[in-house]
Symmetry: C2
Subunit: 309 residues, 2 copies
Amino acid sequence: MMKKNRVEISEVGPRDGLQNIKTIMSLPDKKAWVSALADAGLSEIEVGSFVPPSLLPQLADTAELVAHALTIDGLTVAVLVPNYKGAENAVRAGVHKITIPLSASESHSLANVNRTHKQMLEEVEQIAALLRKLPEGRRPHFEGSISTAFGCTIEGAVPEKKILELAMALMTAGCDEVGLSDTTGYANPANVQKLVKAVKTEVGDKNLTGLHLHNTRGLGLANALAALDVGITTLDASQGGLGGCPFAPGASGNIVTEDLVYMLDAMGIETGISLEKLIVSRHMLHTYLPDEPLYGFIADAGLPKDYRS
Amino acid sequence: MMKKNRVEISEVGPRDGLQNIKTIMSLPDKKAWVSALADAGLSEIEVGSFVPPSLLPQLADTAELVAHALTIDGLTVAVLVPNYKGAENAVRAGVHKITIPLSASESHSLANVNRTHKQMLEEVEQIAALLRKLPEGRRPHFEGSISTAFGCTIEGAVPEKKILELAMALMTAGCDEVGLSDTTGYANPANVQKLVKAVKTEVGDKNLTGLHLHNTRGLGLANALAALDVGITTLDASQGGLGGCPFAPGASGNIVTEDLVYMLDAMGIETGISLEKLIVSRHMLHTYLPDEPLYGFIADAGLPKDYRS
């Protein structure tokens, strides 16, 4: 296998996890959780989303949480934005990375953000123009993430040709890179490798490095493993498997950060993350959200005897 | 990836699953379940174990279940035996395949069957001699399965050298093939590939084709995927993830047959198994064991929209 010996994990729990539960976590708890995640070694955390508070009251304090996260040394502070207005707020908050999702399925795009592909790509162009005006040191990295890339619960299969077109359109509109998201948990090791290879060929190897995988059908870690073989070096994951996609019915369950870190660590692939501290952070999360189920195996099973010996 | 386009799944639920729960399933229910599994396309089923009923009352009717399973056209009827006496009973019952476990960890071997490696290898020799006396058409296939191959909850890590020695000793003692079992859920994709390659080199490529993997730490399917890349063509799995190892504390959870079939099927790898019928069989199992938790994802999540289109 031609795996990199280091994989970056982008923790999306504070955004993707919290937006999918009804409980609203308090700002002090969010701050403490983000700090604990960073302390465990997560070097990139998606801390929130700049959306109207009326739509996602859970994330209404994103600007305040960004301000806190920016005080953490070495942390890449990422947010999701659905549109230009969100990007303006993200820039004002001073984030390091902005991700805009673009649904490969137009039906999903309309259901999710009420916009067609064309309208979304216009937003991307406007955001890129906004970012270009910023001085280089203050310009956030800009990712266009193609959601429902492996199929949609509304439209079903999405042709590969459509994904390639959208990936190229995102780059042309001014994204720094594209990502692929298995919003609906339809990915399998074979189609992950096929699509990653095809998109890398289309937009350039360096312009697709990250995947957002779900564990809806139990294949999350197998898909992650398959992705490493085709040059993916960044994987999204969520502590306790919190979150998923609220507008894709039946689809839920991010990859569990703890389990992903364990797999990579056990394989001798560096992540820079301390499993022990990650478990501490998980316990904190459970304290803050006592009624939310947390998923995953390693937290309960514990490390193998003689691990690391 | 150099995967075979067909993978055999050996269903171990009726043995490994049932021996690990307190409920004793009735013989008629076992027969119906085995028939349903075979009807779903499982071509090999480990239906029981010839052990003293005082030790495992759950499997006391193994001979009767074997007799039933032998009536199913095309089914390979497999059993586990801990010793020569068990093998005699298995031969008398007319099984197609006998597997004897040999713990790589001697502490585990003593705890599990109260025998040293030397004593176990003597049993293997005696069984091989017994089988050699049988006419070829009635001679069961004889597998020596190295349990705790990836580490032991008592001894911890087991040196690769020890596994290679035991694998060769099993072949020398008269086994037709060896298998490796992740009894404790310590395997990861990297050590699966490393150990499989090493054992294949030691005993010959064709003499190691199967793995018994657990999902204790969530890596079951990722390990299965990794195993396919190094020439493994048979994987054990258990419907609903029932079972594990009763003498390895904290270790439990076979790979879920339904999820494994889904992964392979989605990847275009043939298994000969109908997922739909497998779900029917799972519902039967739940009816027979209403108080036992069944694991896995695909049964709840359902197939992707447009699957197979």
